[in-house]
């Protein structure tokens, strides 16, 4: 019996208990189908993930000690042991981690379990981008020509250096000047070696204005189903952000040719299970080129599910169990758009964010499943209160909208994103909103260069506050009213005596709010039955609110109906510790209560440089007493798999240096203190 037979037939036929060797939303997605099919579920989880919903979604969960992927989700031996220990008879790898690891697939099959994925050979064949290109070229699928660093000329520019084993945009570098080529090859190779354990890279022509169009296939014993295509052109740094199905403005002949090329690709390797054949489509010349084939379920698979009315996970299970697939190829119905919500700050170089999602409520009609009409589906790995750790990908959730037309789907996506309540961490929501309303996206003509073309202007910056002093003042006032009501609700004495009541009015009560680093003082007084704002921004007056009402079932949630010159503005405010999140009529505002008092012992010295996020100190480049120039690197930190340099804000002397190499630091920890010359003398 060949190994392929083992996979396609399954060891035990019907799957009864399935372990998902993955985390977050994709684990929940697979569990959802399993529940529908009556298959018991097993989760594996790292220590950091113990509180996430996928762990409790499963019938059984097995801890993988540690936090880093290498300690946990990449430990094939531990995952397999977990499956055997819990009596699982199948393993679904999700995407990422071990999903395209042929050795793992082989080990699963050898252990007598059903591997929900393609044969290890298929993974290997497609795992090398160099090899797969050759294979596809032989099968008649159009590919981009290969270049070699040695023979490349100016005419070949721009070029793209890619890691053969890569994915997710890592190990990929664009070269626009020939002189940079060898350097970029080296960098890409180093990045690939560290990320994938394989430093092999190759070079191909770079299509500047290409679209990313990919075709969903499901290989089975009788051939390959083609379930339409997806457009995933909106990418930031080669990572997909917005996807849709079907791809807009694709000539019918091109679409048919793409589908047949994908089918040919799958058939060429006798592919079994769900896979995606990715193409670069050059709309200007109406030509497409094979990029790679992903031998797993894609992140963006839901858009296909919604326009084709299929459950791709169910199809994967049918193939893995050796059953006939029970769907047929159909034309797409309507349009589906998916946006990926990330915990990241697009305006700050996409810096990943970690911490607690104090509130994470996204309006959706269903989770992980089919829609019955126009509406929203949410595939989320997180819920209100979840901790987002620094160890893994920063994707929080996928919001997928289906509507009969593309226009309607885009508008509904904008609407749903605006209604979402995302508190605690910065997200890319504002960027997504800008993207969804960008003329190219609305027109359906976007290319993979969209975000780069916008020169990083499309990052949702400056959307932290509502427009205009009046709307801002109302938001700050609502925050103040809710924070005060919350405090009053926790009183030990005089529980129901009105907040801030005075029989003799002198100075107003004040609350200081930190609004993105700027301090705003909100002055207020008690009125009969409510609150009145005084002196927030001199030009705004006449703002009042009756006593707020608690939002049912939400601890710290208050509805504040702000009255301003005869107009009513409802605000929903969420108070969690010092954090106050305000959902204004036009968007979200996050502020922090500034403590009234600071213990002088806690005050940091002027010129202190603070850790921008939790992480470890990997380099200390100076010593106490060193003279430093402005911009000089003092300390290097590593956090969220990225290095951050902490530089001198101005020239001066290093007077304190609490940071040491290898040290783990919290966000806000003092790393170094630089004292400017005049200050040194003055003191």
């Amino acid at each position: 019996m060949t190994l392929r037979d083992a996979s396609s037939l399954g060891s035990a036929g019907t799957i009864t208990r399935l372990l998902v060797a993955n985390r977050g939303e994709i684990a929940r997605r697979v569990f959802a189908t399993c529940r529908r099919l009556g298959i018991a579920t097993v989760a594996v989880h790292s220590d950091a993930d113990v509180g996430l919903p996928f762990v409790t979604d499963a019938d059984t969960a097995v801890r993988l000690p540690g936090n880093t992927p290498a300690e946990t989700y990449l430990r094939a031996d531990l995952v397999l042991e977990a499956a055997l220990r819990t009596g699982a008879d199948a393993i679904h790898p999700g995407y990422g981690f071990l999903s395209e690891n042929a050795d793992f697939a082989r080990a699963v099959i050898e252990a007598g379990l059903t591997w929900v994925g393609p044969a290890p050979e298929s993974i290997e064949q497609m795992g090398s981008k160099i090899e797969s290109k050759k294979l596809m070229e032989a099968a008649g699928v159009p590919v981009l020509g290969n270049l070699t660093p040695e023979t490349a000329t100016e005419a070949d520019l721009p070029m793209l250096v890619k890691a053969s084993a890569g994915g997710g945009g890592r190990g990929m570098r664009v070269v626009r000047r020939l002189a940079h080529l060898s350097g970029e090859v080296d960098k890409a190779s180093a990045e690939a070696a560290s990320a994938f354990g394989d430093g092999t890279v190759f070079v191909e022509p770079y299509v500047e204005r290409g679209r990313h169009v990919e075709v969903q296939v499901v290989g089975h014993a009788g051939g390959a189903l083609v379930l339409g295509e997806r457009d995933c052109s909106v990418q930031r740094r080669h990572q997909k952000v917005v996807e849709e199905a079907p791809a807009p403005h694709l000539p019918a002949a091109t679409r048919a040719a793409l589908h047949e090329a994908a089918r040919a690709a799958a058939v060429a390797i006798d592919y079994r299970g769900a896979g995606t054949v990715e193409f670069l489509y050059d709309a200007e010349v109406d030509r497409f080129f094979f990029l790679e084939m992903n031998t797993r379920l894609q992140v963006e698979h839901p858009v296909t599910e919604l326009v084709h009315g299929v459950d791709l996970v169910e199809l994967q299970l049918q193939v893995a169990e050796g059953r006939a697939v029970d769907v047929t190829e159909t034309a797409p119905h309507g349009c589906a758009v998916e946006v990926r919500l990330y915990a990241e700050d697009p305006a700050a170089d996409y810096q990943p964010q970690s911490g607690r999602l104090t509130r994470f409520e996204i309006p959706a009609d269903v989770e992980f499943g089919p829609l019955t009409g126009a509406g929203a589906r949410l595939d989320s790995g997180f819920v209100s209160g979840s901790e987002v750790s620094t160890h893994y990908d920063a994707m929080l959730a996928k919001l997928i909208i289906w509507a009969p037309t593309r226009d309607a789907a885009l508008r509904r996506t904008v609407g749903a994103l605006r209604q979402a309540e995302l508190h605690g961490l910065r997200t890319n929501r504002e960027q997504l909103l800008e993207i969804l309303q960008h003329p190219d996206v609305v027109a359906g003509t976007m290319t993979t260069a969209l975000l780069a073309d916008e020169d990083d202007a499309l990052v949702g910056a400056g959307k932290d506050l509502p427009d205009g002093p009046e709307a801002q003042a109302r938001a700050f006032f609502a925050a103040t009213v809710a924070a005060t009501a919350e405090q009053t609700s926790r009183r030990r004495v005089q529980q129901r005596i009105p907040s801030g009541w005075r029989n003799v009015e002198a100075a107003p009560r004040t609350l200081a709010l930190d609004v993105a680093g700027t301090q705003v003082q909100v002055g207020w007084v008690r009125t009969r039955g409510g609150f009145a704002m005084v002196d927030v921004y001199d030009e705004v007056a006449g703002v009042t609110a009756p006593d707020p009402t608690p939002i049912a079932g939400v601890v710290g949630g208050w509805r504040v109906v702000v009255q301003h010159d005869g107009v009513t503005f409802p605000h929903d405010v969420f108070v969690v510790g010092d954090r106050v999140d305000v959902e204004t009529p036009t968007g979200h505002v996050a502020v922090r209560r500034v403590p009234r008092f600071v213990d002088p012992a806690d005050q940091v010295a002027e010129g202190s440089l603070l850790a921008p996020m939790p992480g470890s100190v990997v380099g200390v480049r100076v010593e106490v007493g060193d003279q430093v120039v402005e911009g000089q690197t003092l300390v290097v930190m590593e956090a969220m798999k990225m290095q951050h340099t902490v530089a001198a804000p101005y020239a001066g002397t290093v007077t304190e240096l609490p940071a040491s190499e290898g040290q783990q630091v919290e966000a806000g920890a003092v790393l170094a203190v630089v004292t400017a010359p005049e200050a040194t003398e003055g003191d």
């Binding site: 005089q494 009541w501 003799v504 100075a507 009969r528 008092f597 213990d599 002088p600």
Partner: protein, 534 residues
Amino acid sequence: MSANRTAMLEKLEELRAEQDKAVEAGGKYIARHKERGKLTARERIELLVDEDSAFLELMPLAGWGSDFAVGASLVTGIGVVEGVECMIVANDPTVKGGALNPWSVKKSFRAADIAAQNGLPTINLTESGGADLPTQKEIFIPGGRGFRDLTRSSARKIPTVSVVFGNSTAGGAYVPGMSDYVIMVKEQAKVFLAGPPLVKMATGEETDDESLGGAEMHSRISGSSDFLAVDEYDAIRLARRVVARLNWRKAGVIPGSPAATGDYAEPDFDPEDLLDLIPSDLKEPFDPREAILRIVDGVSTGSTTGHDNAVAFDEFKPLYGTALCVGWARLHGHPIGILANARGVLMSEEAQKAAQFIQLANQKDTPLLFLHNTTGYMVGKDYEQGGIIKHGAQMINAVSNSTVPHLTVIMGASYGAGNYGMNGRAYDPRFLFTWPSAKSSVMGPAQLAGVMEIVARQSAESKGQPFDAEGFKPIKEMVETQIEEQSLPYVLSGMVYDDGVIDPRDTRTVLGICLSVIANQPIQGEMNFGVFRL
């Protein structure tokens, strides 16, 4: 808008204007004080109390009508600090450097009484140049009581905290000296018995402020200060930490009760209507039940604490002595008994009804609220023969010896012995507030002037002289005007005969705070009264 409301709103405007005088008492010195980077007394209090806390300022108009600034260079009141109800007494350094005049002394004594009677921790925010020397003879001897009160409070396990922001010298040095916890602000506090000039005079020693009484010195050397604050904010932060660690428990709160859980309804009728209710002419009677239902808790059923309030006000003896309305209710969840004048005059039946009711309240340890609108006890032959004196005495006996907490609100008239029987200032209610419509004197101004005329006529007649009625008229008018003026609430408030003039609509909130404050100590009624002359 009703005429009553218009009249009351006018009076409230006046009240606000009078209160502003107290707030602005420092005049140009307020700006000067702030320029030095210092906080005003009121700003210090705003920072000291919890951010959402109410602050019931007491006696804000003390000194009104005197030679001294309204407010008497002190700001005092009850606020919640770290969840603990505290008596806060702050010198106003913008008024004559915070110097204490006879009204300041009276005000501070009253604050100390309130703290002592209700078991409140006291926080002194000190910055005062000491006694107002021209009036020292009125201050010096009685003033010693302030220090006595502090240490007696401490002995009763009621902590005292002193935060010194500036001068606290000579006698003033004993404020921190007698306090349990002392915080001094660096480079501002100055605490010594005698300053450099006096020391030089006394002993010839040459020295300076800082070594005699600076915050650093007292914190590091003398030990008279427990905490050295780097600035005023830090001092207030430290004071809050001290209070947070007092481990304060309110002995008078019954766990699970509506007052403890906040499980009660707001009044069934809108307190706003109180402005329409009170006649601008006090000769017109009004039904106090209308006021009561706008002050006490409304009807609530389905209580989560098992304490339904099925009826807002249960009247007792409704058919007897109907000029006085008495009954039971709840206010911010606290059970109370209420005595309210329904028709101004008190007769034998009313007096006896009151005496019985006060005993009942004592029997069940329930605080009492007196709502004044009385012209006094009934006079006349029939009433004297009917024993109005002994019946009035029964009521005064009951009021005097009752030990449940009393609250008094003078809504309208409070004349003659009615003021006593209804628990006026002399009868030591825990708190006494007046509405702007209130008037208080030995009798009504017209009556008093009339009495004077009769007495003058009798005097003239006894001397066999003719009585010049026309000639007496201006005297009568002057007396009437004078009495009318003296009976106004600001005059009484200025003399610290009440704890403040309040907006009638705030009555529920004010009394709610008072009842909560009272609950810092257990409520213990008294069954042992003086001899009732039956």
